[in-house]
Point group: C2
Chain length 1022, copies 2
C-alpha cells in the first residue's frame, strides 16, 4: 500500500489521469525510525555527532534544474549505496524540490531501498521544505505552503518516518522569529542555523549560549511557539581541515604504513583539538559537527571513507584514555541527546536580524534586492491561493488535471521561497528562471481557475464564460479591455469577508467613446476615466499597448466568491471630461475622502500634510525619493566591502532624487486628477522616478504608487533608491516591523536586545526586513504612522519621525559571495530595470491602528483576482456567488483552503481538504479584534458540507494530538500571566498539546493562532 500510494503520488505530479486516495495519517508500520534509531552514545564521554549532509541550493549560480542535473542527481545516486553498505552510517536530506525530482526518476528497487533506509532512520529528512526558504524576504503564507508541499511529499512517500523533526536554516542570512514560531508549530523539536551576527556569535561563544530556547511568539502563542535553537559551530562546514569531499583539498587520512605521508596521529590530534575548543562553547557532553557543504557528496564515498577512518582512529584513542567518542548521527539524534542531558537554557525573544559577518558586511541589501521578483513572488502566492480555493470550492476532479496544474505553481512557489530566490541573491539567469517558473505556474493555474469558475457558474446558474487574464495590468496593459467594445470582468475575492476593490482597466479610446459598467446585479456602477501617467509610458514592456486611459470603477467583493461586471462602450460625440490639472499651480492640492485628506505643496509638488479626518489627527509629512551611492570595493578586506546583492553598504548619506541639480521641485509634467472614484496626484521626481498618489473613496489609506528606474549608472556609481517619509512625529529611535507578514517586532536604532552592539555601519546596521509593514509611534501623541508594502523591502527609521523603505537597487560591484555578478538588472531593453510598486500609508491613533493595517495587510496579499470574458449573453443578473454561508469574523483569515495535492477526490464521495484558519491580530492590539474568535466549520462553506474534521500540526502532516515535542528547561514565567488571560486555553498550551476540534465543529482562535484541519467534505446536494 505504501508503495502504491507513492506511485500514485508520483503519477499525480506528472499524469493527467491522476486519481487516488489520501492515505491516512495513522501510519501503522513498525519501522524503527525516530529517536530510537539513533546510534548509541557513551555517557561518560564527549560524544561527537558526525552529521554527513549536503546543502543543495534550489537555484543560485545555476537554476534548480541545472543544479539537479549537474550536481544533485549524483549526490543522491552516490549516497544511497554508501548508506546501504553500512547500517551505522547516517545521511540527512533537506531540500524536497530536489529529492522529489530524484525520487520520481528511480526504479522500483531503488525506491524500496530508500524506503527501507528511511524506515531505519539511516536516511533522514531534515527541514523537509520544498526549499530552505529565505527568512528576510518571505511571507508566512508562502513559508507554510512550501513546507507543506515538502511534508506532503514525504508523508505520502515515506509515512511517519519521512516526517522531519528539525528546522535546518543553515545558510539563510539572518533568522526571523516567525520562522521559529512556524517550526515549533510544525512540531519540530529543534532549529539549527549557521549564520548570525559575528558579534552575537562571539558573545554567545564566550557566554556558552550557542544553544538556547527561542520564543517564536512570546506575546501570543507562548510555549507552543518555543523551540530549542542551536547555533552550529562552523557555519555548516566541517571543522577546518576535515573536508573530505571530492571538491575539497584537505588531506585525506593516509593510513597505509607502506606509503609516504602517513598522517593518522596528526589528523586525530587536530580533530581532538578542534573538538576540545568546541566543547568550551557548548554545555552538554554532546557536540555536533556538520560534515558537508554546498552540493557535497556527489562522490559520497570520498566523504564516508574518510569519516569511517576519522571515527575509527579517534575512537581508537579511547583505549589510551581518550574521552571523545565519535558516532554517525543526525541533527535530530543530536537534539535528542542534548535534551536528555537536561540542561537549562536561556531564552531569546527577538530575532536574528540583521546578519553581519564583519563590521562592514551587513546582509541587509537582500531585503530589497530584485524588487520586481519579490513583487512577482507575492502576486504569484496570491493567485496560488485563489486557485487552490477555487479548485476546492468547485471540487474539481482529477480528470480536470487541476491537481497537476496547481502543483506546477505550488512547486514554482516552493522553489521561489529559496534563500537565493526571493532574496534576490541569485544570478540574473537564475532569477529569470524563477520568474519563468512562476509564469508557467500561473498559466497552468489559470486553466484551473477557468475550469473552477465555469463549473461553479454552471452550478449556480450564472453565465458560463471563458476567462482570460491580464497579467500586465500593473503596467496598464490588457488586450481585451483595450480592444473589445464589450467585455466582462470577473472579480474573485479570496478573503472570506466582503470588501471593496477599485478596478483599473486600460482602454484605448480617443475620448470619443464612453464606457458603462454594469454590476453583477445588472445595475450600472459609477466609473470614470483617468489618464495613464507619463511615467507608465516609459516602461518598455508596454510597447504593444495603445491605451492612454484607465477606466476605474468600484467593485463590491463577495466573501470567498466572485462577482462579474460588464463593461460596454459607445461612440459619443462629446469627449469624456478628464479633470487633469497641473500640480504646481501655487495653491496646495488636497485629496480627500470621508476618512482622510492629504495635501501637496502647490509650489514644490511635494507631500505636505496628512489628516485622519475621522480621528482628527493631522501631521506634517513630506515624502521624497532619495538614493544612496553604493560602496564599491573588491571585498579583499573589511574596509573594501562593496554593496551587493547581499550586502548593503552605502557610501555616505542619501541624496534626494531631483530633476537635476538645484531643482527643489518636481517636473512640470506633474499633475492631479480629482475624479469621482479616485483622486490622484502624479509626481515626476526625475525622468526615472515617478509616483501616483491615490486616494479612493471609502478607503482609509493613501496609496503611493511608485515607478522607479532605470537607475542611472552613467556616473559609474551603483545606487540604492529609498522612499523616505518625514513626519512631525516623535518616535524616539524606535520603530516596528513585521516578521514575515505576521507578528510585529520592536526595533531600536543601534541596539540589539541580547548583546552590547557596536554599530559600525550606521545606516546598513539599522536596516530590517519589512515584509508587509513598518510603523512608527509617537507615544506622547498616541499616534501611529504606518506604511504597508506590496512586497518585501528593507526599511528603517534613521531619524526622528522618519520611515524609510528601499524600493530598488542597481549595483556595479560584487559583494564577495560566489555569485560573480553585480546586481545590475538591465531589464527588457537593456537600459535598466524599471520597477513599480505601492506603499500604503495610514495615520491612526495607536489604539485603533491595528484594525487598519491588519485588515489592509490581509487584503494586499490576498487581493482579488480579475479575469476577463467576452459576453455570451446580455449582461445577466446575479452574476455573483459566494463560497461561504457567512463571512468569517473580522479577525479571522482563511489562510488555506485546498484539495490535497496528492490525490484528487473521486466524485460524490467524502474527501479530505486542507483548511487553515488564522486569528490575524496580536494580543492587545485592538480592544475588540484581539479577542478570541470562533468559527463553526460546519456552518462555514456553502460549496460543500463538512462531515468531519481532525486538527493537524501547522504543516498538515501529523495529527495534532499525536504531537509530543521534547520538553526543555528554560525560564518561561510569563506563562502564568498568559494563563490568567484565557485560563483553559493556556493550561493546555503548557503541556505542548492543543485539544482537537470539539463535536460541534466550533473552532476557537486566539490571537495569532493558526489552526490546521483536515476536513472531510462532500458536495452539497443541489
Amino acid at each position: 500500500m505504501a508503495s502504491l500510494a507513492k506511485l500514485l503520488f508520483l503519477s499525480c505530479l506528472i499524469d493527467v489521469r491522476c486519481k487516488g486516495l489520501r492515505t491516512t495519517f495513522q501510519h501503522t508500520d513498525d519501522s524503527t525510525c525516530g529517536y530510537g534509531s539513533c546510534n548509541p552514545v557513551k555517557d561518560d564521554m564527549i560524544n561527537v555527532h558526525v552529521v554527513p549532509h549536503t546543502h543543495d541550493d534550489v537555484g543560485w549560480l545555476s537554476t534548480v534544474d541545472q543544479y539537479y542535473y549537474e550536481q544533485v542527481q549524483y549526490i543522491l545516486d552516490s549516497v544511497i549505496p554508501e548508506l546501504e553498505k553500512d547500517p551505522s552510517k547516517r545521511f540527512i536530506y533537506v531540500e524536497i524540490a530536489f529529492f522529489a525530482r530524484w525520487y520520481r526518476e528511480q526504479d522500483d528497487a531503488t525506491m524500496h531501498t530508500v524506503q527501507r533506509l528511511v524506515d531505519e532512520g539511516r536516511l533522514e529528512f531534515i527541514l523537509g521544505g520544498w526549499s530552505m526558504n529565505d527568512e528576510g524576504a518571505t511571507h508566512y503564507n508562502a513559508i507554510i505552503d512550501q513546507h507543506s508541499l515538502g511534508f506532503e511529499f514525504l508523508r505520502e512517500t515515506f509515512g511517519k518516518c519521512g516526517k522531519p523533526r528539525v528546522g535546518w536554516q543553515i545558510d539563510t542570512f539572518g533568522h526571523s522569529r516567525e520562522q521559529a514560531s512556524i517550526f515549533a508549530r510544525f512540531g519540530f523539536d529543534s532549529l539549527f542555523f549557521g549564520r548570525l551576527d559575528y558579534q552575537d556569535k562571539a558573545f554567545r561563544q564566550s557566554h556558552t549560549t550557542m544553544e538556547m530556547v527561542w520564543r517564536g511568539s512570546p506575546n501570543n502563542l507562548g510555549v507552543q511557539a518555543d523551540i530549542f535553537t542551536g547555533v552550529l559551530p562552523n557555519l555548516y562546514q566541517p571543522p577546518a581541515g576535515f573536508c573530505f569531499d571530492i571538491t575539497c583539498s584537505d588531506t585525506p587520512f593516509v593510513d597505509d604504513p607502506r606509503l609516504h605521508d602517513v598522517n593518522v596521529e596528526e589528523r586525530v590530534d587536530a580533530f581532538l583539538s578542534a573538538m576540545a575548543d568546541q566543547a568550551k562553547q557548548y554545555t552538554t557532553n554532546h557536540l555536533i559537527t556538520t560534515m558537508g557543504s554546498d552540493f557535497q557528496y556527489q562522490a559520497a564515498h570520498n566523504w564516508f571513507l574518510n569519516l569511517d577512518k576519522l571515527i575509527k582512529y579517534v575512537n581508537a584513542r579511547q583505549s589510551n584514555g581518550s574521552k571523545v567518542n565519535l558516532l554517525y548521527s543526525t541533527p535530530s539524534c543530536y537534539t535528542y541527546h542534548v535534551n536528555k542531558a537536561g540542561k537549562t537554557y536561556t531564552t531569546k525573544e527577538d530575532d536574528f536580524f540583521p546578519y553581519a559577518h564583519h563590521e562592514h558586511a551587513f546582509m541587509t541589501g537582500y531585503y530589497s534586492s530584485r524588487p520586481a521578483l519579490k513583487g512577482y513572488v507575492r502576486r504569484a502566492n496570491n493567485f496560488l491561493q485563489v486557485v487552490k480555493q477555487l479548485d476546492a470550492l468547485a471540487m474539481l476532479e482529477d480528470t480536470d488535471n487541476s491537481t497537476f496544474n496547481i502543483n506546477i505553481l505550488a512547486e514554482a512557489m516552493g522553489v521561489a521561497q529559496h534563500h537565493d530566490a526571493v532574496s534576490g541573491t541569485e544570478r540574473q539567469a537564475v532569477a529569470n528562471d524563477y520568474a519563468e517558473r512562476l509564469a508557467n505556474g500561473i498559466t497552468e493555474a489559470q486553466k484551473v481557475y477557468n475550469d473552477a469558475v465555469k463549473k461553479l457558474a454552471a452550478r449556480n446558474g450564472n453565465a458560463v464564460l471563458e476567462h482570460k487574464f491580464c497579467t500586465l495590468l500593473n503596467i496598464s496593459v490588457c488586450p481585451i479591455t483595450e480592444h473589445e467594445n464589450q467585455f466582462m470582468v470577473t472579480v474573485y475575492n479570496p478573503i472570506a469577508r466582503p470588501g471593496l476593490e477599485y478596478v483599473h482597466l486600460p482602454v484605448s479610446h480617443d475620448q470619443t467613446v464612453s464606457f458603462k459598467v454594469w454590476g453583477p446585479d445588472g445595475q450600472e456602477v459609477t466609473s470614470e476615466l483617468i489618464p495613464i501617467t507619463p511615467g507608465t509610458f516609459r516602461i518598455p514592456e508596454r510597447k504593444n499597448s495603445t491605451a492612454k486611459y484607465e477606466l476605474v470603477f468600484q467593485a463590491e467583493l463577495v466573501p470567498l466568491g466572485y462577482s462579474t461586471y460588464t463593461v460596454t462602450s459607445n461612440k459619443v460625440i462629446q469627449k469624456a471630461a478628464v479633470n487633469k490639472k497641473p500640480l504646481m499651480q501655487g495653491a496646495d492640492v488636497v485629496l480627500q475622502n470621508e476618512f482622510i485628506s492629504v495635501a501637496f505643496d502647490g509650489t514644490t509638488g511635494a507631500l505636505k500634510n496628512m489628516t485622519n479626518l475621522e480621528k482628527q489627527i493631522s501631521i506634517d509629512v513630506t515624502q521624497s525619493f532619495n538614493f544612496y551611492n553604493a560602496f564599491g570595493g573588491n571585498n579583499s578586506q573589511p574596509e573594501f566591502q562593496a554593496s551587493g546583492a547581499y550586502m548593503f553598504r552605502p557610501n555616505g548619506s542619501s541624496i534626494p532624487v531631483t530633476m537635476g541639480s538645484g531643482h527643489a521641485r518636481l517636473s512640470s509634467r506633474s499633475y492631479f486628477v480629482q475624479g469621482e472614484v479616485v483622486q490622484e496626484v502624479y509626481q515626476e521626481f526625475s525622468p526615472w522616478v515617478t509616483q501616483s498618489v491615490r486616494l479612493y473613496n471609502h478607503h482609509r489609506f493613501v496609496q503611493f504608487h511608485w515607478t522607479v528606474g532605470p537607475i542611472p549608472i552613467t556616473d559609474g556609481q551603483g545606487k540604492e533608491v529609498v522612499s523616505v517619509f518625514k513626519t512631525s512625529l516623535g518616535n524616539k529611535k524606535t520603530f516596528y516591523t513585521d516578521s514575515n507578514g505576521r507578528e510585529v517586532l520592536k526595533r531600536q536604532l543601534n541596539y540589539r536586545e541580547t548583546w552590547p552592539f557596536n554599530n559600525t555601519e550606521p545606516i546598513a546596521g539599522n536596516y530590517f526586513p519589512v515584509n508587509s509593514r513598518i510603523f512608527i509611534r509617537d507615544e506622547a501623541k498616541q499616534v501611529q504612522f504606518t506604511v504597508l508594502t506590496d512586497r518585501s523591502e528593507g526599511g528603517t527609521s534613521l531619524r526622528e519621525g522618519e520611515v524609510e523603505l528601499m524600493v530598488h537597487r542597481r549595483l556595479l560591484y560584487m559583494d564577495g559571495a560566489a555569485i560573480n555578478e553585480a546586481l545590475n538588472e538591465t531589464g527588457l531593453d537593456g537600459k535598466g530595470l524599471i520597477v513599480r510598486g505601492s506603499h500604503y500609508v495610514m495615520l491612526d491613533p495607536i489604539s485603533s491602528a491595528a484594525a487598519g493595517h491588519r485588515d489592509l495587510g490581509e487584503r494586499l496579499f490576498m487581493a482579488p483576482a480579475l479575469s476577463f470574458s467576452l459576453p455570451t449573453d446580455t449582461p445577466g443578473a446575479n452574476n455573483a456567488w459566494s463560497g461561504v454561508r457567512q463571512a468569517l469574523p473580522d479577525n479571522v483569515h482563511l489562510l488555506t483552503l485546498q484539495q490535497y495535492p496528492s490525490a484528487g477526490p473521486a466524485p460524490s464521495e467524502t474527501q479530505p481538504f486542507l483548511l487553515r484558519l488564522e486569528h490575524f491580530y496580536e494580543k492587545g492590539e485592538d480592544p475588540v479584534l484581539s479577542q478570541p474568535a470562533t468559527v463553526n466549520l460546519q456552518d462555514l462553506f456553502s460549496a460543500f458540507d463538512v462531515t468531519g474534521a481532525i486538527e493537524l500540526t501547522l504543516g498538515g502532516d501529523m495529527v495534532l494530538s499525536d504531537l509530543n515535542r521534547l520538553a526543555w528547561n528554560y525560564p518561561h514565567e510569563d506563562e502564568t500571566r498568559r494563563k490568567t488571560d484565557s485560563t483553559l486555553r493556556f493550561e493546555s498550551e503548557v503541556t505542548g498539546k492543543i485539544t482537537t476540534i470539539d463535536d460541534q465543529f466550533i473552532v476557537t482562535l486566539y490571537p495569532m493562532e493558526i489552526r490546521t484541519f483536515q476536513i472531510n467534505v462532500r458536495p452539497v446536494e443541489m
Copy 2:
C-alpha cells in the same frame, strides 16, 4: 589457488616471512576475457567504441602517494561498483603502481569481485606497466623492468586475464621507436597514443594515416618488432562537450521532460557530428572515443550515468535510420575489430620525436630537465641490476627479506620511469619525493647486497665482510675512505665479461700519508693521488668532507662477480708528489695513452685536437660550454611561448660561458695533472662551470667530467647550458642518436621522414633525445665522432662538425602546463642546483666505432658497484669470485638475472629465475660483433645449475610459443632481404613466433635481439 597466489604475492610485498611458489604460466581457468569478451558490434554501421578510462599520473603536481590517497583510491573504489551493476560496462586501468596500492588495501570480497570482473573482460588492464613511462629520457633496461614489475603483479594476481595486450602511451611527449619495439616484443597487438607533432597530426588526418604499422626495429628485429599504432582522435580526452566527469563542466544529459533545458536531441546531434568528423580521418567502420582524462572517474557514476544515456539516445536514432552504433569497449576490443576489418596500412620506420604542439612549443626541453634526477635514475637502475643479480647468484632466501627489499627499489624505479618523473616535468616537491624513493630503495637494496656478498664470500671461502656504501662518491665524499687508515673496497661487476675500472677514493690526507692498494690476489696495485678539483669544493653537499685528494687505482673487473681491494695508509716523512701544473703555460698540453691523445691550447686552455693513435685519425676539435637565454613569456599565444620544464625555446643563439666579458680563456686556476694512472686537465670556464678532462690508461675514450651550476639568474634570464664540440668533420647536416639506449636513429637537420616539415624553431626543433649516445660521421673521411652520456640529455648537431648536448637548465617561466612552477632548481643551499656528469668522447673509423661505443655504453649503465669494509683479517688472497663459468661473448649482454619478485625460493629446491640475454649490436655495425652469438645456458653460471628453461615474451609474463599476435596487412618487402641474411632465423620471424630453447640449452642471439627465459635452477653442489 589463484586467490592463494594473490595473497602470497601481496604478503610478499609487505611481509618478511614471504614464501611461496611461482604459479605456472599455464593459466587453466575458463575465464571469458580476451577478444571474445568484447561487446557486440554492428557490421553495417559505424561502431563507436566508447572507452571509459582514467589517466593517473604516478606523480606530477603531487607525489604518487598523495595522488593515491587524494584521488586514485576513490577512482577504483567508485568504478568497481559501477562495473558490477552492468555487465555491458567496461573500464580499463593502466598504472599498476596505483592499482597494486589499491588492491592490497581491499578486503577479500572486493578482491574476488575484481577478479571476476577481470575474468569477464569488464575490467581490463591496458599497458600494465608500473607507470606509463616516459619515452624521451628513459633507458630500455628500466622500461622493460618497470613493465615486467607490473606484468608480474597482474599475472600473479589475475592470471592470463590480467595480461595487457595494448600499449597505451596516451600522454607521453613524443614516442620512441624502441618503445614500439619493446611493446611488440611484449606481445602487444597495438599501441595507441595521443601526442604527436601538430604538423604530423594534420598531415595524417588529411591523409587518413592516423593508424599505421610502426616498425620498431626495421633493420634488426623485423616483424617481431612491428606494431599496429593508432593516433587517438582527441589526445586522450572525450570529444569536445562530452566530458561527464565530476570535474568537468560540460552539460549532462537532461532527459526528464518535466524539467527545464531538456537537451537529448541537441546532444545526440552534436555527438553524431563529432563522430562524422572523426570517421573522415580513419579507415574502418570502427571509431574509438576515449571517455576520460587525468584522474577522472573519482565519481565514476557521473560518467557512466551519462555514457549510458549517450549510448541509449544515440543508438535510439538507429530506428530513424542512423547508422551509428555505440558500445562500451576497450582499446583491445577496438584493435580486434579494426584488425578484423582487414585494411592495409602504411608503415613508419622512424620515431615521433620531437613533439611540438604548436609552432613555438617544442617539447624538447624535458630531454634535459632535472639532469641530477635523470642521472640518479640511471645510477639507481645500475644498482638495482647489481642487487637483483647478487640476490639470484647468492640464491638468497626469503627469510633474508631480499625480495621485499629489492622490490622497494624496483617499485621506486617503476615510479621514476613515469612520464612526469625522469622526464623532469614534475613539481620540485615531487622530484624530491622520487629521489627520496630511490634513495630509500637503494638503502634497502644495500642490505640485500650485503647479505648476498657475505653469503657468496662465505661459500667461496673469502673474507666475510660487512659492507658499507658511499653514495656520494660522485662528489668525492666517502667517510670510510676519508677517515679510516685501512679499509677494503669490493668492486662488483654486473657485466658478465671482464673489464677495467678506475676507482677514485677521496682521502683526507695532508700529503704526509702514503697509500698502498693491494689486489684480491694480494699483489700491490699501482695507485696515485690526484687533487680534488676546485670545482668540487663549491658543491654544498660536500660540506662535511675534508678530503682534498683522491686515491686512484685500476681495478680488474671479474665477470659477473666481485673482487676486493685493500687500501692501507702509512705516515711518511716526505710528501707524496702530485704533478699538478697550470694549464695555460704557453705550450699546448697533451694527454696521451696507447690509444688516444688529446691536446689543449696552451694559451686559451681549450680542447684543440684529438687523435686516435691506433687508427691514425686526427681531428681539430674544440669544446666549450655555451648557454641559451630562455624565452620568457606567458604562453597566452604561440609567440609568447616560454621555455620551461617541457618546452625548449631559446631566445637567440647560444653564448659561450666565460670568466667574464672579453675573456677568451679559462680561469688561471685551470691546471693539468699527468699521473701514472690517470691524466687530467682541469678547466674552469667560469665560477659556475668547471670540467675535468680525463684520460685513463688502456681506455679508448676521453672523459669530460663537468660540473655546472648554480646557473646565474641575477640578470632575470633563465638559461640552458650546453656542451658544444666543434670538430673539423663534415657530417652534412646528419647526426645519429640512440633510442632509449639501444638502436641508433639517423637525424637530419630540419627534416622529418614522414611529412614535409616546416621548422619554426630552428634550434629546439632540431633537438632529439640522447639517452646514451650521439655521433656524427664524416662519410668522406669515414670517421665517426661519438659522445656518450651518463644520463639522458637533449642533443643535436646544429652546424657542420658540431655535437651539442644540453647539460643543465634553470628557468624562470612556466611553459603553460599545469605544473605552475618554473623549473628553477635551487639546490641544497637555495643558490641553484649544481649538477655533475660526464661525456665520453671517442674518435674512430666508422667501421669500428660501434665496437667502442657499444662496449662503453654497456659499461656506463652497468658500472661496477663499490662497497667498503673494514678488514677483519689481513689482506687475503683470492678475494674474488665470478658468477659465470665463462664470460659471455663480447656482443652479448646479461640484461636481466633475478629471482622472481613474487616468490622467493625454498632452499635446495629447483626454482625459477628470470634471465634476459641481449645481443647488443645492430646488424652491420661491426663485421664481427654484429654476427649472431650463441650462449649455452647450462654452461653459463657457476653459482647454480640450470635444470630447465622456457622462453618467454620480453615482458616475462607469457610463454613465447603461446604468443599469437594479430596479423596486419602492410608492406614489409624487406623481409625478403633479411631472410637471405640468416635464412632459417627469419623464416620463423615472419610468423611472429620464435622457437623455444633447444635441448642443448644453446641460445642463439641475433643483432639487437633480447631473449627472455624462465630458467629453473638449483644450487651447485659444493
